[in-house]
């Protein structure tokens, strides 16, 4: 099966082609020709670009399956979905909840269907992994009337799910019994910790939005709720200004006082005060989240670090493990750990293939 993963970027689709077994054949960018903001796409040019990619690297002109990761599925989507009229209608229903992502994506998907009408397009949602989060974790201390339907969504679900797969591989090799307590640390632009018992998530640091939890490269992370009100009252800021500060000018950028990535925190051999502060705060909050995860699961067997900045995890992991082992009392086995460098597009391809294989009843690859 030839699988093409596509991720929507500003003016292009990041594409990767995989053969059976997850072998990467090619990757690159497919321009979205003729695309203007809210304008129509040139479907003919799009299909030509897709076919060129397939023909150059495989013996067929179209993929057997297109896989598209979607940042947000709300409570509407609790699993993967093939694109058809109904799926698109459900997706468009989420537009107001994710206005920066869904409308553009829905438009591109519509054109993609026209471009390759015979090819099934599977959507994988970052949020569905957490659809089974227990209510006491997913809920907030607000009255239902004040915020109806509010729940913690969690993000990076695809990366967490792949991390859990890696953890289970380690667990089975270790021949230990029972259900592993897994901590998944995804080091992306907006990092996230999830606690997973077996395959069931029980805790996640991401919230209703990725703004909550660990500080990101430019996002504030955990914050006293009253401070949002103080910014309005003390600083006289309006909602746009507050949103700008909390999403673009906070996080590691604010602590280091310049744009930094998580990887940057561990590259500098002589960090200045700002970088040191950023790293200290970040590592401390990860440690606390790990402690929360241990309490949530009643134990900890495996830590998996993944994401774009997973290599930075090799630098922070030893200290984290040391601190957690020190806090564990009387444990029979040490905490296992690994760093997964699997790229996200490969994660999508593998999850899509597994989803098709393990679905009951079996999924049929039918274009919508």
């Amino acid at each position: 099966m030839l699988t093409l993963t596509l991720k929507l970027k500003n003016h292009s689709l990041a594409a990767a082609l995989f053969a059976d077994g997850g072998q990467r054949l090619a990757d690159g960018r497919i321009p979205l020709p003729g695309r203007k903001p809210f304008g129509s796409l040139d479907a003919d040019a799009l299909v030509q670009n897709l076919r060129r990619l397939c023909q150059q690297h495989a013996s067929q002109s179209e993929p057997d399956l297109v896989v598209v990761p979607v940042p947000y599925g709300g409570t509407e989507f609790s699993g993967p979905a093939f694109v058809d009229d109904q799926t698109l209608a459900r997706l468009n229903g989420l537009a107001s909840q994710a206005p920066l992502h869904i409308p553009r994506l829905a438009q591109v998907l519509t054109e993609l269907r026209r471009a390759v009408p015979g090819v099934p397009i599977m959507l994988l949602f970052e949020t569905t992994f957490f659809s089974s989060l227990p209510a006491r974790e997913a809920s907030y201390g607000l009255s239902p009337a004040a915020a109806p339907g509010l729940r913690r969504m969690g993000f990076h679900g695809l990366s967490h799910e792949a991390a859990v797969d890696e953890a289970w591989t380690m667990w089975l090799k270790s021949r230990r019994c029972g259900t592993p307590a897994i901590l998944s640390l995804v080091l992306e632009q907006r990092p996230e910790v999830a606690a997973v018992l077996g395959r069931e998530p029980v805790m996640v640091t991401g919230g209703v939005t990725p703004l909550e939890g660990l500080p990101g490269e430019t996002t504030c992370g955990e914050l006293d709720p009253s401070l949002v009100l103080s910014m309005k009252q003390d600083c006289g800021w309006g909602p746009e200004q507050i949103n700008l500060v909390l999403t673009r000018e906070s996080g590691l950028r604010a602590l280091a006082e310049r744009r930094v990535t998580i990887s940057n925190l561990y590259q500098d051999r002589t960090p200045d005060d700002g970088m040191t502060l950023a790293r200290d705060v970040f590592e401390y909050l990860v440690l606390k989240a790990a402690g929360m995860a241990m309490a949530a699961m009643g134990g900890l067997d495996i830590i998996v670090v993944s994401g774009r900045h997973a290599r930075a995890g090799t630098r922070m992991l030893p200290t984290l493990l040391y601190r957690l082992e020190h806090a564990r009392r009387g444990a029979k086995f040490p905490i296992m750990s690994c760093v997964s460098l699997m790229p996200r597009d490969e994660i999508c391809a593998r999850l899509a293939a597994r989803g098709i294989e393990s679905a009951s009843p079996p999924m049929r690859l039918v274009a919508g």
């Binding site: 974790e137 504030c220 992370g221 709720p225 309005k232 502060l277 200290d280 606390k288 929360m292 009387g330």
Partner: protein
């Protein structure tokens, strides 16, 4: 030394006279409905020698309440205070310890009073009233935030631009510090450890506010409340931790009315908001398992109780991970001292951290302080009654003696 401790509310004034250093209570009471504009007027309830007396007397403000309290005390020559000690909720970044009241201190208190707009202003007004009415009577101020002055930057800093962190003072202050310090001191004595070597997590679970504090070598190194008492645990009427984006949406939904959102998050959320029944978790717990006529438990109440304990449990895990080698977990204040079900939900199943509860001792700790951990538990679990007035009086005594 006779220390008269005042604890100010917006329309009340509680007081206790303590003989220090022994900590013997000589009398106490409360001025109620100060500045009342309703049918029921102000009154003073005075307790001494096992008896309680209620005096209906007009008290327009806290200055008037102080006058009435002193009138009662001056009627008994043995009740002349040597010093007045005030509980002050917020010391800002200015006061990191108890302070003697001087004109400079009072000026600073008035400058920072809006950091805690409900609590600080009446307490500050009382300090001024005492200064004016009895200028020769020494006064001290003991701050709820002071114990947390030792928070390291990694625990106290929010990931916000420097201008907000430093110029605006947007940082974690923490509260309940007097209580956390008091019970930690009691825990050290119980464990036979010097206070400066104690590592513990203190769980102050009140019927109103609640917070946890991580204590290393007798110093606060992290706490769940933040810039304000709103952050952290879900409390009786406060929501606790919340996605900042949700706060922005709530303000937008209410057409920019941030005062309405502040009231919602502080007064109409938490146990009250979720349950729709009561702000007291004990009421929710009692009803949560009660079956309806069809035998189904109330899901809303069970979720409320579950979320309440879950938040505390997660933070306990966070702080045990931070400390690494905790000596004790301490439960205190109304819920912490009186509700075994909460202690069980929070500390049960935490063997990974070396915490093992003794079920029978937890169910009935007996007289406090009590150790409810199993004998083989590496971490002791203590139930200790807090006494903020004694703690305030002790700090005052030490300050005056220095």
């Amino acid at each position: 030394m006779k220390v008269l401790v005042f604890n100010c509310g917006s329309s009340s004034l509680k007081y206790k006279m303590l003989e220090m250093p022994a900590g013997v209570q000589l009398c106490g009471g409360e001025a109620q409905r100060i500045g009342a504009k309703t049918a029921e007027g102000s009154r003073l309830v005075h307790r001494q020698d096992g008896e309680s007396r209620t005096i209906e007397v007009e008290m327009k403000d806290h200055a008037g309440a102080f006058r009435e309290v002193m009138r009662r005390l001056q009627a008994d020559p043995t009740l002349a205070p040597d010093v007045v000690a005030h509980r002050m909720v917020h010391g800002g970044g200015v006061f990191d310890a108890a302070a003697a009241v001087t004109p400079e201190t009072l000026a600073e208190l008035e400058r920072i009073q809006n950091l805690a707009p409900i609590h600080n202003p009446p307490a500050t007004a009382l300090v001024r009233a005492v200064s004016e009415q009895m200028p020769s009577l020494p006064q001290t101020v003991v701050f709820d935030t002071a114990f947390h002055a030792t928070l390291p930057p990694r625990a106290s800093i929010y990931a916000l631009p420097r201008t907000l962190r430093e110029d605006r003072g947007y940082r974690k202050y923490g509260f309940h510090g007097t209580s956390h310090r008091f019970v930690a001191g009691e825990a050290a004595r119980l464990l036979g450890k010097p206070f400066t070597e104690l590592n513990a997590v203190s769980c102050h679970l009140g019927s109103g506010g609640a917070s946890l504090c991580a204590i290393r070598n007798g110093r606060s190194i992290d706490t769940t409340m933040g810039y304000s008492p709103l952050q952290g645990l879900m409390m009786s009427t406060r929501c606790g931790d919340l996605d900042p984006a949700v706060v922005m949406n709530l303000v937008a939904d209410r057409l920019g009315d941030s005062a309405a959102v502040e009231a919602l998050l502080n007064k109409k959320s938490g146990v009250l908001g979720m349950s729709g029944l009561s702000a007291d978790i004990r009421d929710v717990l009692r009803q949560a398992d009660a079956a309806d006529p069809d035998g189904a438990p109330d899901d809303t109440l069970r979720l409320t109780a579950g979320l309440y304990a879950w938040r505390i449990r997660k933070y306990l895990g966070a702080y045990l991970a931070v400390l690494g080698n905790a000596d004790a977990v301490i439960f205190t204040d109304t819920i912490g001292e009186e509700v075994p079900a909460v202690r069980r939900a929070v500390a049960g199943g935490m063997e990974v951290f070396g915490v093992r509860l003794d079920a029978a001792r937890n169910a009935d700790p007996g007289s406090l302080p009590a150790d409810i951990a199993a004998p083989e538990s590496a971490v002791r679990v203590l139930v200790i009654a807090t006494n903020e007035e004694i703690a305030i009086a002790r700090e005052t005594y030490q300050l005056m003696a220095a």
